[in-house]
Subunit: 409 residues, 2 copies
C-alpha cells in the first residue's frame, strides 16, 4: 500500500487518475499536467494513465499531524457511526481492533481495499473519503484507563430545551465517514461496521448530505434544508483562527487533536414554512438570500451588533441566532454540519434537520455557546436537539502508526 | 418563467451559468463558449455571466414529447414519492392539483421557485433536477374513469419469492424526483408534498443514490452496494432499441409515455459477503471487476450463452442472473436503478438494497422477465423484493400544457 502525507497534494506513487472534481475544486494543481487558473477557469489537459487505473480516484491524504476530515473541505456525504463497546472488552483487545480500523481507514481513503474487503471494487473510488475517529467519555472508564482521559474533556451539561432521545445519544467510539459520493460512504461504513463488530455494537448511524463542489463553488457556504446559508461565520481552515479554535495544544496525548460534538437538531419545517421571511431573517440575524448580516450587504460582512434603527432598537435583535451564538471573549467553534432528511409521515411532515458536527479544542467553548443559545435564541422555536454526544479526537498518525495510539497504545 | 424544449441543449434565455458538472458530463457543448473534446479532455474557458446569476445552475429541459427523468442520464440522487388519493376527491379536483404539481416541476427543474415556495433560494440550484409523474392502477377507479385506463396496463402478478411489505407497496400517484445534489431533491420533495397534501397522503418515500458523473465517466455503468456493475445490458437512451423498449407507441393518451415498475429489493449483504467471489460471478454471469460476461473480456461484450467449458457445461450458468433476465424474443426493460442504504441494526446488519426502477412500454415485458427470475435466478439467494408497484407514465407536455393532461384534462 502506498500513502501520502497531508499538506502535500494527495498523490500516491500508484498511477492515480486525478478526478475531475478534485481538479475543479482546486485540490490538486501543478501535479499530473493540470493547471488551474483563476475565477473557476480550469484547463484539463486530459493527461491520464488510463491503462493502469481505469477509474478516477480523488484522495485525501490519511497521514499527518491532524486527522483528516476536520480541516478537509467538507464532502457532499457523511455517515456518523457511533459504537458501544461490548462488555468484557479490555484495553489490549480494544486497541487491536482500533488499530485494524485505523488501517482500514488508511487503505480505504487511498482507494485501496482493506484486507478482507469482500467488495474490493467499491474501494477503488475514494471520492475524497475521510474517516475520522473519536472516543466517548465512558470508554475510558470501560477500559479502566480513566487516568488517560484529559481533565477538561467532560460530558456536556444538560440544556433546558434539549429533548434528547436515547436512540441518538452517546457512544464509545465515533467514526465520521465523509466522501463526495454516497456509494463510497456506504461501502466504508459497511467495512468499518464489520471490522468493529467483534468488540462493539452499533449504537446509531446518522447519514447526512450538504452542498459541496461542484454544486457550489469551492469555499462557498452551503444552504441547509431551512434555506439558510449555514456556516458563514466559521473560521477558515488553514488560518490562525481555525488552528486556535480547533486544535488541542496542551502537552498531552490529544495534542493536535480536537473535541467533536455531534448534535441531532430536528427542524420544524411545518411551522418554519409558515413564518414571514422578515421574521426568519430577524431570528437568524442575516438576510435569507445573501446571508449578509442585517447590518451589512455581503455574506462575509462583520455583523454590527450595536447598530440601531430609527426606533432605537438594535438592527440585529439581541435574541437573534448570530447574536446569541457569539461569546464575549471571542472563542469560537468550527461547524462541519450536514443535513438529514429521513422519512416523511403520511400527513407530509418531514423528519429533517441538521447533524450538527462541531469541532473545537475544548468542550467548555461549545457548552458556553450552547448555554447562550439555550437561554434565548429566537431560532429555538423551530429547532430542537434530539441527540447529543461528545467525542475526544486524537491527533493523526504517521505511516506505520495508527489513530488512537497516543491514547490506547 | 422561461423554459427550454428537450432535445435542444437545456439552456433558457435567462443568463444561466453552466455548471462545471454539466459541462464535464458533455450535457452542454457548443453553447456558452464550451468545447468538449474526446476521451474526457475538456476545455473550460470560464466564459460565464457571473453578475446576473451568482450560482451555477445545470438544468434539464422540462417540456418535450417525453417526460424528463427517463432518457435523462441518471442523476446521483433520487426520491420516489408515492401518494394515496384521499377519499372523496373527484376528477376535477385531482386534475387541478396535478396541474399545479406539473407547474411546480416545470419551475423547479428550471431553477425557479414555484409560487408559494417558502425557501425560494433552495430552488435556484436545479442540479439537473427532473420530476417524473406516474399514475397507479387504482387511481382510475377512484376517479371513476376506469375507461381511460389503457387495457394493457394491469397490476403485476404475484411472484412466489416476493415478500412484499405494505409499507413499500402501491400508490395512486408517483413522483420520481432526481438531481445531482441531495439538497435539491429534499427541497423539491418537500415542495411537492406540500402542494399535494390537500388531496393525498404520503404512502411511501424511497430515497436512493447511485454513482454518476463526475464520480464516474459519462455513460459508464455504476456499481451498486453489492459491488456489481449494474445496468450493463441497458439499451442506450437515444438509440432505436431504447425507443422500442421504453416509449408507448399506441394511439392513445399514453403515446410517448411509458410504464414504470418500482420494486424495493433488499440485498442480504451478510450472506453475500460470505460467498466466494467465483460463486458471485457464476450467480451473476459476469466478472465482478470488469463486468464482462463470463464468456467475454470487456463489459459490453455480448454474452455467449451457448459457449461450453471442458466439462460440457455452459460457461454462463443457465440459472445465472443475466441468463434468466433474457427473454427469448428479445424484449427488454430499461433499468434506472438506485441504491438505498438505510439504518444499521445493533448487530451491524445493513438495511440496504436496490430501488429497482424499470421503464418499459408495457407491464407484460416486465412481468415476463420477472417470472423467469422468480423461477430460478441464482441471485435470489441474496435479493428479495419487499415492495412492488407499477405506474402508467403519460407523455411530456408542451409549454402551456401539463403532465397528465392527456389522461385527466
Amino acid at each position: 500500500m502506498t500513502t501520502a502525507m497531508r499538506d502535500t497534494p494527495g498523490m500516491t506513487d500508484r498511477s492515480l487518475r486525478v478526478s475531475r472534481r478534485t481538479m475543479l475544486a482546486g485540490g490538486v494543481t501543478a501535479a499530473s499536467g493540470v493547471a488551474a487558473g483563476a475565477a473557476g477557469a480550469v484547463l484539463f489537459t486530459g493527461e491520464e494513465d488510463v491503462a493502469s487505473a481505469p477509474e478516477p480516484v480523488a484522495v485525501e491524504a490519511f497521514h499527518g499531524n491532524h486527522q483528516a476530515g476536520i480541516a478537509t473541505p467538507p464532502q457532499a456525504h457523511a455517515a456518523f457511526l457511533s459504537l458501544s463497546l461490548k462488555s468484557g472488552i479490555g484495553l489490549e483487545r480494544f486497541a487491536s481492533v482500533q488499530k485494524l480500523l485505523s488501517q482500514d481507514a488508511e487503505r480505504l481513503t487511498q482507494g485501496e481495499p482493506p484486507l478482507g474487503d469482500t467488495e474490493p471494487e467499491l474501494a477503488k473510488l475514494a471520492n475524497r473519503l475521510t474517516i475520522t475517529f473519536g472516543f466517548g467519555y465512558e470508554l475510558f472508564d470501560k477500559l479502566a484507563i480513566a487516568d488517560r482521559r484529559p481533565g477538561d474533556f467532560t460530558k456536556l451539561p444538560k440544556f433546558e430545551l434539549d429533548r434528547l432521545d436515547e436512540k441518538w445519544n452517546g457512544g464509545d467510539v465515533l467514526l465520521q465517514i465523509c466522501a463526495d459520493d454516497a456509494t463510497t460512504v456506504a461501502h466504508a461504513l459497511r467495512m468499518c461496521v464489520k471490522d468493529s463488530r467483534s468488540i462493539a455494537k452499533v449504537r446509531w448511524v446518522m447519514r447526512g448530505f450538504r452542498q459541496a463542489p461542484p454544486v457550489i463553488d469551492e469555499g462557498a457556504t452551503p444552504r441547509n434544508t431551512m434555506g439558510q446559508l449555514d456556516g458563514t461565520a466559521n473560521p477558515a481552515p488553514g488560518g490562525e483562527a481555525f488552528a486556535e479554535t480547533v486544535w488541542r495544544d496542551g502537552d498531552d496525548a490529544t495534542k493536535n487533536g480536537s473535541v467533536l460534538v455531534v448534535r441531532r437538531i430536528r427542524t420544524e419545517l411545518e411551522t418554519w414554512d409558515a413564518v414571514d421571511p422578515a421574521v426568519k431573517e430577524m431570528s437568524i440575524g442575516r438576510a435569507l438570500d445573501t446571508g449578509a448580516p442585517l447590518t451589512g450587504k455581503n455574506e462575509h460582512d462583520e455583523p454590527d451588533f450595536d447598530a440601531t434603527n430609527d426606533l432605537g432598537f438594535t438592527v440585529i435583535p439581541p435574541k437573534s441566532h448570530i447574536r446569541r451564538a457569539q461569546l464575549e471573549d471571542g472563542r469560537q467553534i468550527f461547524r462541519r454540519v450536514y443535513n438529514y432528511d429521513d422519512q416523511v409521515s403520511a400527513d407530509g411532515t418531514s423528519d429533517t434537520g441538521l447533524i450538527f458536527a462541531s469541532y473545537q479544542k475544548d468542550i467548555a467553548t461549545f457548552a458556553d455557546i450552547q448555554a447562550q443559545l439555550d437561554n434565548g435564541d429566537m431560532l429555538n422555536d423551530w429547532v430542537t436537539a434530539i441527540g447529543s454526544s461528545e467525542f475526544l479526537i486524537p491527533p493523526g498518525c504517521e505511516p506505520g502508526g495508527w489513530v488512537g495510539e497516543t491514547l490506547f497504545g
